[in-house]
């Protein structure tokens, strides 16, 4: 009996690792090792013709920061603006679907998901067309005086931020909806029964209970927005380029691998620190829990 239990125990200890092994191995070989290798590459010196050798070239990092601080700051600025905008647009939408939509609930959720089935790149190209200089939108804005006569929308920061906001809106709306939907409505009723005004009930009950969704939504928007380069490439000019554009350019066109590796390392570190601080501030118990 004891022998049997022991062998079962041992088997139970091994089983999860057998389940995990293939996927974990894939992630180690094609995610973790590349990141370590990239760190390695970032400390190399050389040129595209003769190749690169490892030399502990920390200067690549300081050079990268001093040379591309503008693009870094722009990425953070654009991503933060877009995250706030998606929140402002998505919160009332998510609130409406969770509390007021009734039988339209599923239909509205479907409408939020549906754009995912049209290519991301193509939707951004479509914005290019809509915001074009002689397009309907610019003409209308000119006629009501919001845009000057020689003003334009395409190839401006506004266009890039609008594009990012558009592309990541569902990533904000869906987690917000999930967390609002989970709220037990009786909590809100209890608050108003206890003489809390609607505003107070919202501020003290609804909003805190929606925090996991706000947390997940803003991460799901901010992280990809920070590294995005499609919107800047299609809706902006080199003057709107973000750090993603620089990294892509350096890897695929200039072939300055160490500098590109250093830049993507800095970007990743910045984002991980950001997530950590954000989690501390909002007090989310578990990142993965918030993401679901």
């Amino acid at each position: 009996m004891s022998v049997l239990r022991l062998s079962l125990n041992q088997r139970r200890k091994l089983t999860p690792w057998m389940f995990l092994a293939p996927g974990l191995l894939w992630l180690i070989v094609f995610f973790l090792i590349p990141l370590i290798n990239q760190w390695n590459v970032s400390l190399m010196t050389g040129n595209p013709e003769d190749g690169y050798t490892f030399t502990w070239a920390w200067s690549t990092y300081t050079d990268a920061i001093s040379e591309y601080d503008e693009q870094f700051l722009r990425s953070i600025g654009y991503a933060a603006t877009a995250t706030i905008l998606t929140f402002v647009i998505a919160f009332p939408l998510a609130y409406f679907i969770a509390f007021k939509a009734g039988r339209w609930k599923n239909f509205m959720l479907l409408l939020i998901i549906l754009p995912f089935f049209v290519s991301f790149v193509l939707r951004t190209v479509s914005w290019q067309l809509i915001l074009a200089d002689d397009g309907f939108v610019v003409d209308t804005l000119k006629s009501i005086g919001l845009v000057g006569d020689d003003g334009r929308l395409l190839a401006t920061s506004t266009a890039v931020v609008a594009g990012i906001t558009y592309n990541f809106l569902p990533f904000m709306a869906l987690p917000l909806y999930v967390s609002l939907e989970k709220i037990d409505k009786r909590f809100i009723e209890a608050a108003t029964d206890l003489y809390a005004s609607r505003a107070t009930a919202f501020r003290k009950v609804t909003l805190p209970l929606a925090l996991p969704g706000i947390f997940a939504g803003s991460l799901l928007t901010f992280i990809p927005a920070c590294g995005d380069f499609i919107n800047a490439a299609l809706l902006g000019t080199p003057r709107q380029y973000m750090i993603g554009n620089v990294i892509q350019n350096k890897y695929l066109i200039i072939q300055d691998y160490p500098s590109a590796a250093a830049l993507s390392f800095i970007l990743m570190t910045f984002i991980l620190i950001g997530i950590f601080l954000y989690a501390r501030v909002l007090g989310a118990r578990n990142l993965t829990e918030a993401a679901i």
């Binding site: 088997r11 089983t15 999860p16 690792w17 389940f19 293939p22 996927g23 974990l24 894939w26 992630l27 094609f30 995610f31 973790l32 290798n37 590459v41 647009i89 998505a90 009332p92 939408l93 409406f96 679907i97 007021k100 939509a101 509205m108 479907l110 409408l111 939020i112 549906l114 754009p115 995912f116 089935f117 049209v118 290519s119 790149v121 193509l122 939707r123 190209v125 479509s126 290019q128 809509i130 809106l169 609607r198 590294g227 380069f229 499609i230 993603g244 990294i247 892509q248 890897y251 695929l252 590796a261 993507s264 390392f265 970007l267 990743m268 984002i271 990142l287 993965t288 993401a291 679901i292």
Partner: protein, 291 residues
């Protein structure tokens, strides 16, 4: 009497004063919310509307930018551009292969993470979550750096490797959510009745998590077909659908692209409608059976 007084006041407030004012306020707020929501959804669909409309355009030159006239030509011959046809074929094949691999790997990982308490579980959990919180540009660039270091030629195979790598985390998260809401006792019952772990998995667990696995596979396929960033780093000379569109922006995106995109959207809509109809029929049959 003194005891009864407070409830009376509360009743008056709750029953008469508060509702009428609150209800009016509520209705106004609902309207405002509804209009805002409709506008937000409209915002989501503006570019898609433009894509659909311009799939019927008959552009004079290469640029499909201004409305020239209605034609069904592109709908009748969506594959006239051989590069576009190849790109579409590549995208579909890559999505199929990477989805099958990622779904299998991810489902097993989710099983291990939900079903077993073992040392290092939270570390594995965090490690699986890490690719989701890394910008795509970093993942793509790092993977390319590895392939360059190993002097591996980038192409179809490296795209599949990359897609499996970054969709597997989505699969784990999706399947985990399903597993966590599941009754463990059914599996325990199977094992108590002498089923081995593998048999239990095949005959009990898998059928129960099937909807979650299907959803995960759909998600993985959708992400794979749509990916531009990671693919652009690891594609070499291979062209996928998003790469083709991005490359075509300089010379003008041909209307056939709009046709294929609209067609894909239509297929998805039809599948969703069929699913709803099937669910309704099943529900009706169940209702009839219980009655």
């Amino acid at each position: 009497m003194a005891v009864e007084a407070p409830p009376k006041v509360a009743e008056v407030i709750a029953g008469e004063l508060k509702p009428s004012r609150a209800r009016r306020f509520d209705r106004g707020r609902s309207w405002a919310l509804g209009i805002w929501s409709a506008l937000a959804l409209l915002y989501l669909f503006i570019p898609i509307f433009v894509i659909v409309v311009f799939s019927f355009n008959d552009p004079a030159g290469r640029f499909n930018f201004t409305w020239q006239g209605f034609t069904l030509d592109h709908w009748l011959h969506p594959f006239t551009n051989p590069d576009l046809a190849t790109a579409m074929k590549n995208s579909v094949l890559i999505a199929l292969v990477s989805t099958v691999v990622a779904t299998a790997l991810g489902t097993f990982m989710a099983m291990a993470l939900v079903r077993y308490g073992f040392r290092g579980r939270s570390l594995v959990d965090f490690f699986v979550f890490l690719p989701l919180s890394t910008p795509e540009v970093v993942i793509g660039a790092a993977l390319l750096a590895l392939f360059l270091t190993m002097s591996v030629n980038t192409g179809f195979a490296t795209i599949v490797i990359a897609h499996v790598m970054f969709t597997v985390s989505y699969v784990v998260v999706t399947v985990k959510a399903r597993l966590e809401g599941m009754d463990r006792h059914i599996e325990e019952a199977a094992m108590d009745l002498g089923a081995t772990e593998w048999t239990t998995f095949r005959k009990v667990t898998l059928p129960m998590i099937a909807p979650g696995v299907a959803a995960a596979a759909l998600l993985a396929a959708a992400i794979s077909v749509d990916d531009y960033v990671i693919t652009s780093f690891n594609a070499g000379q291979t062209i996928t659908f998003p790469l083709f569109i991005f490359g075509a922006t300089r010379q003008g995106v041909p209307p056939e692209v709009n046709v294929l995109a609209t067609g894909l959207l239509l297929i998805v809509l039809i599948l969703m409608a069929l699913n709803v109809m099937l669910q309704r029929r099943l529900a009706r049959r169940d209702a009839a059976r219980t009655a």
